[in-house]
Point group: C2
Chain length 233, copies 2
């Protein structure tokens, strides 16, 4: 038994399912493992939790090291702790998902070194460890969350069109494009919540009639929530 192995009793890590929305598709940011075990395989970004680090802090650190982003949406989902989930010892992992605006994503030294790439959810292959299961559970959580909390906006630019918002929902919920949700009903519903404000700006650079841009108004949302409102789509 190697020296490291002899110390290796149990540990905990965080793994982060980083979602993005680009090209009308829901994506997940994966890294290619450079070391054993599972060398060369795609995996969720994660790391062992430092002895003096809170779990949320560890998840934020993993996210920032890879994307350069701080203060983005992050939620703990579940802990995976099957005895044999890690080939080298007992490591349980606390799974998080985060939602980022792809346009904000900057290549960091870490992401470069770990060859981070966006993968369409629908075309993720076999991942290292139990990461397929983790991804699956996190996606289910996102699908529920997006329907009863205003988290979808975290995936869009600050200013967006209603069509983009609808496509986001169709993509996250895995509905057929432009058939899953009725355009008129969707707009009616989202606008009737009064949490979107029209910008004085139009979409630019498109080869057709440009759409109005909207923004999510968190203050109004918070106020409505305090009054008993609950977001629901």
């Amino acid at each position: 038994m190697s020296e490291v192995e002899s110390f290796f009793k149990s540990a905990f890590s965080v793994d982060n399912v980083i979602f993005g929305f680009d090209g009308g598709d829901l994506k997940v940011l994966l890294i290619q493992r450079g070391a054993a075990p599972f060398r060369g395989k795609w995996a969720l970004p994660g790391d062992l939790v430092y002895p003096n680090e809170d779990l949320d802090t560890a998840a934020e650190r993993v996210l920032e090291q890879l994307t350069g982003l701080r203060g983005v949406y992050l939620e703990q989902v579940r802990t995976f702790g099957a005895v044999n989930r890690h080939p080298l010892g007992r490591v349980i992992t606390i799974a998080y998902f985060s939602l980022i605006k792809v346009s904000d994503f900057a290549l960091t030294p870490a992401s470069f070194a770990q060859s981070a790439h966006w993968h369409s959810i629908s075309s993720v292959g076999e991942l290292a460890f139990d990461h397929n299961e983790i991804l699956d559970i996190c996606l289910q959580r996102l699908q529920r969350k997006v329907r009863n909390a205003p988290v979808g906006f975290e995936l869009l630019p600050q200013k967006f069109t209603l069509t983009e918002l609808q496509q986001l929902y169709e993509s996250v919920l895995n509905l057929p494009k432009n058939k899953g949700l009725d355009k008129r009903n969707f707009r009616k519903k989202i606008l009737s919540m009064n949490v979107l404000v029209e910008c004085d700006e139009m979409q630019e650079g498109v080869a057709h009639r440009p759409a109005k841009l909207y923004q999510f108004d968190r203050e109004r949302y918070d106020q409505f929530v305090a009054e008993g409102f609950s977001f629901d789509i």
Copy 2:
């Protein structure tokens, strides 16, 4: 201490919020700590996870040692891992909640030794560690779950009256008795799901008109779910 070593100076435990329903009230099973830290304080039952034990298995073990029950409803909720949550070292804990029928609860050696007692949710005092927070989060989870999955039945005897079922919901959701839910609408809704079957039996030993007894039909429920049905109250 080497860096590698320090990663493994940590442990993980499970804590179990065991809910019961008795006397029209939602209860939680607590134990009184017999050793430091927090000696004498009420706490959630829990234990360190064995090196070769899955997390769910550990939660089942804690539950069985205390109540003698196996195969009851158990769900992982969240992991609590603040650096200083445990005064003696870095211990993160995976929180579970379980739902049991109070009438099935038998005093075990462990429950006797740990002076386990049912506490009304509304009158739980200050608990050891971060257990108040854990209880709170688990209760919130139960409140959501009971509304979109048929888990309420886990808290009732196999045969129950519709009034008991309604009181269970009012208690879990913390609604005023007989004012939170309209009796007629409640019965209409639950019966229209077709997942309850009438027993050929009536309530006994009550000093008034006895009510019909019903049972939850899980097979029917599973079939409906497969056909796209979703439970909602």
